[in-house]
């Protein structure tokens, strides 16, 4: 390959590496900036000296945040929500995807069920009717309001059922002949063979519950029940300080607004930052399998 060493090629490769590095930097820079502000002294942050490196390095904003009851409470609610919500999402995804992955000849009602679920992505009642429904089922102000309305993630169901359909049928038939029922087949054959896809769907569901904020804002009347992102929304975006207790207000005034906010923004993103690189190879495979079909 002569062209590999041509001058144009070398220039292109150099440009390519620089350009891609720049794109990656643009993706990371804002987070680095937030991290830098959170570790800086309040004076330096207020004066606008902090760019990508902390100025007058300090842990004070983290000390402040870690002692703030509102922040810790909301974190606890989010953890609870992720625990309940993801288990429920996964259980329902698998339980719905398995029957729907059967051939219509083996499970005639499949088409009807599939349409009932798919129709919910095409048409919805809208925000106000949903709010009324949550109110009418008496789950307003409880963790169930955050978990039940989205308990069936239809897109994940479609991803899983497409994956299930690709599994070799021989294993299943052999199991039936040995006397296995549907639950055994699902548990002993489908699930062990679908770990990559299940990991993808679990990641999506976890990220979804971790990042959700709007339902917390509208279904919880008391800010004390807000999950983390709803709490952050009021503090960081609305800059509403009325939900601080008097005690933390006093300490808040000692600390610069910006450094405390940055610390909370960073902590709100941290679990995702830690979780996703490990699951990356799964979700790439999972997305490709679920979306590009031959």
């Amino acid at each position: 390959m002569v062209e590999r060493y041509s001058r144009g090629r070398v220039a292109f490769v150099a440009f390519n590496y620089i350009f891609l590095t720049l794109m990656a930097a643009i993706c990371l820079m804002p987070l680095i900036h937030v991290l830098a502000v959170s570790f800086s002294s309040s004076q330096a942050a207020a004066a606008g000296y902090v760019k990508l490196w902390p100025v007058q390095f300090t842990f004070r904003s983290y000390e402040f945040v870690s002692s703030k009851k509102e922040f810790l409470d909301s974190m606890l609610i989010t953890l609870q929500r992720v625990g309940i919500g993801v288990s429920l999402n996964m259980l329902l995804t698998v339980l719905i995807a398995y029957p729907l992955s059967k051939e219509t000849s083996a499970f005639r009602s499949r088409t009807v069920y599939a349409w009932i679920f798919v129709f919910t992505i095409l048409f919805g009642g809208g925000l106000i009717p949903l709010y009324m429904m949550v109110k009418d089922t008496m789950i307003l102000d409880s963790i169930w309001a955050l978990v039940l309305p989205g308990a069936v993630p239809v897109f994940n169901v479609i991803l899983m059922l497409n994956f299930f359909r690709g599994l070799p049928k021989d294993l299943e038939e052999a199991a039936y002949i040995d006397g296995a029922g549907h639950l055994t087949v699902l548990w002993k054959i489908y699930i062990p063979l679908s770990m990559a896809s299940l990991a993808t769907v679990t990641l999506f569901s976890t990220v979804g519950h971790w990042n959700a904020w709007f339902d917390g804002l509208i279904f919880m009347n008391s800010p004390a029940d807000y999950p983390l992102q709803s709490y952050l929304q009021t503090v960081v975006i609305q800059q509403d300080l009325s939900m601080f207790s008097v005690k933390s207000m006093e300490r808040y005034s000692e600390i610069n607004d910006q450094t405390a906010k940055s610390a909370q923004i960073f902590l709100g993103a941290l679990p995702i930052l830690l979780l996703y690189p490990f699951l990356q190879r799964f979700f790439i495979k999972g997305i490709v399998l679920g979306s590009v079909k031959e």
């Binding site: 643009i26 993706c27 009932i116 925000l127 429904m133 549907h182 975006i237 930052l273 990356q280």
Partner: protein
């Protein structure tokens, strides 16, 4: 007699399948189909204490009220313009990045870049909104600092009607371009290597290979994703707009979803908000179905 008997065995065999679906079905019926009853509110002067059955039926009045509002055309136009700009920008950037990443021979570099550009997709608009408000600040925001080096006056990006949509589109592309490259990269690895060999035999250089082999190879998936994204043309991004906008930029930034939120849950005009929401649901439904039908016709795409 015999046929009946086997049918019974057949239904016994599928009974566990029905039972498996039951809990999910119940939840969907309550929280997805239940609210569809509430759509009746769009045709009522809804009063919460009287409920849906007890409120006064007013036919199309809520819709007429919406049409007569001075802002309603602005809101519809904003929704379509913002989401259309996002669709176009969001289509091109990932294709370019995927093509460039495909030229990288060093596997570790490629993986590293991918890990970094996927990241913003997984962060919420609360986190990114907080970051954007900070770095776009006109007083000491990062972006205005950089513009300052070139002697440009500070710009109030989030408070200016001429900049707000550009901020929305740019930040949306920033959040999603990495993640959207996944599918294009997958399409690239699916291109038959013998096509490249043939092109080289014919004397094609790298650029010609890219134009005559790579791009045509990607075309089906590009068309498919473009068609499918048209189904979402009324979803301009509630999370993003809600967390970045302010009354100053309602003129260019207010979209149907944020309008429904304000009118419904803030001003508690349930009937009017439901009517606006219903309009969006019906039109969206039409677009989504049209998109799926086109995707099936053009690319033989099925959701399952």
């Amino acid at each position: 007699m015999k046929i009946r008997w086997t049918r019974k065995i057949g239904s016994l065999r599928t009974l566990p399948l029905h039972l498996m679906i039951l809990p999910g079905l119940a939840l969907v019926l309550i929280y997805s189909y239940g609210p569809m009853i509430g759509i009746a509110m769009a045709f009522e002067r809804y009063i919460p204490t009287r409920g849906i059955a007890g409120s006064e039926w007013i036919g199309w009045d809520n819709f007429r009220y919406l049409l007569d509002m001075p802002d309603s055309m602005d809101i519809l136009r904003n929704t379509i313009i913002i989401s259309f700009m996002k669709i176009v920008a969001g289509l091109f950037v990932p294709i370019i990045v995927a093509l460039l990443l495909n030229e990288v021979r060093k596997e570790s570099f490629k993986r590293g870049i991918q890990t970094m550009i996927y990241l913003p997709h997984f962060l919420s608009w609360i986190i990114l909104g907080g970051v954007l408000i900070d770095i776009l600040s006109p007083t000491n925001g990062f972006v205005n600092d950089i513009l300052g080096w070139f002697g440009i006056e500070p710009i109030y990006f989030l408070g200016s009607n001429s900049w707000f949509r550009i901020v929305l589109v740019t930040s949306d592309v920033w959040k999603e371009f990495g993640f959207n490259t996944i599918v294009y990269l997958a399409a690239l690895t699916g291109i038959n290597p013998s096509l490249y060999e043939a092109a080289i035999m014919d004397g094609a250089n790298r650029w010609k290979q890219a134009f005559h082999v790579t791009l045509p190879g990607m075309l089906p998936i590009i068309v498919l994703l473009a068609v499918l994204s048209l189904g979402n043309v009324l979803n301009a991004g509630f999370d993003q707009v809600f967390n970045l906008y302010s009354p100053q930029v309602y003129e260019t930034g207010d979209i149907i979803d944020t309008f429904v939120y304000r009118v419904g849950l803030v001003e508690t005009q349930y009937g009017v908000a439901t009517a606006a929401g219903l309009f969006k649901s019906v039109v969206s439904c039409f677009f989504v179905i049209a998109a799926y039908v086109m995707a099936y016709r053009i690319a033989n795409y099925r959701i399952f």
